[in-house]
Symmetry: C2
DNA sequence: CTGCATGCTCTAGCCACCAGAGGATCAAGC
DNA sequence: GCTTGATCCTCTGGTGGCTAGAGCATGCAG
């Protein structure tokens, strides 16, 4: 007796209701059974699958990567090389994003550190963006 | 004699041509003069303005923030408090993004470090995402 | 003068959803 | 039994910041 409405499922996995319908639409979640009144009826496995997706999204995996990962999770007899590759790619993507953001942080800190109290004509922020100062 | 076609302007500021038209459409760049053949004709200030926008975008400022910053740059007699606030907000946004990505990096590193050579059923990556392991 | 590069406008697509319209249905309190 | 508010349904359109392409006119080099 673990039948869940879409709302209960949403709460169980801490995901918004439209997001569930969206995942169903793009084929990440299977189409659930429907009650007589046309409402979606979910079972326990749907909670696990949705939690999997949510966790992967939080880690920044793109939907297509998650599709592959779910495919592997569904077929445990298959080799998992793909999963390793996907995780490594995601790690590299995250690392390069961090490096980029750290550079931005440095420049922003310099801009903010010498913030002006006067008029825009003397504004360090605008000056920096204009490229007139290093 | 500093008249530029849209293509030249694009090269001068290292920006794609459609991007310039897009910025014009949303009002970040003023509508330029038109030649008899209806082509856009730019002057030197357009290069500076576009470079300003490009630099700000590289720093991750959203378009609306850039609109405000450009407004201040256009009106140097105005107080620049807004510019400081915008820069500080952007700095905070970047810092929180970095913190978040560092957490992701840690988890991804753990996943990748113990990558499996076997089947998906033993896959550390999938296991981690399933939440069955810490 | 031929052919390719560049320009024009307009529309649609990307990603991963979120918001809202307009309507049906359910559950709880009186 | 009735009302009220929450939840559900489908469908459409919006977000941000561009990018790609269609279909056409024009410019420039060999």
């Amino acid at each position: 007796m673990s039948a869940l409405s879409i709302g209960k499922l949403a709460k169980a996995a801490d995901v918004k209701v439209p997001t569930i319908r969206f995942y169903e639409q793009i084929g990440l979640l299977p189409e659930p059974a429907r009650a007589d009144n046309d409402r979606r009826v979910y079972e326990a496995p749907a909670v696990r699958r949705l939690a999997f997706i949510k966790h992967a999204r939080q880690l920044g995996f793109p939907i297509e990567a998650i599709r592959t990962l779910l495919d592997l999770a569904d077929n445990p007899e298959r080799a998992c090389d793909d999963a390793n590759i996907i995780a490594q790619e995601q790690l590299m993507a995250v690392e390069s994003k961090i490096a980029q953001l750290e550079a931005l942080r440095a420049e922003l800190r310099r801009m903010v550190a010498t913030g002006c109290q006067g008029f825009a004509s003397d504004c360090r922020v605008i000056e920096t963006l204009s490229g007139s100062a290093s």
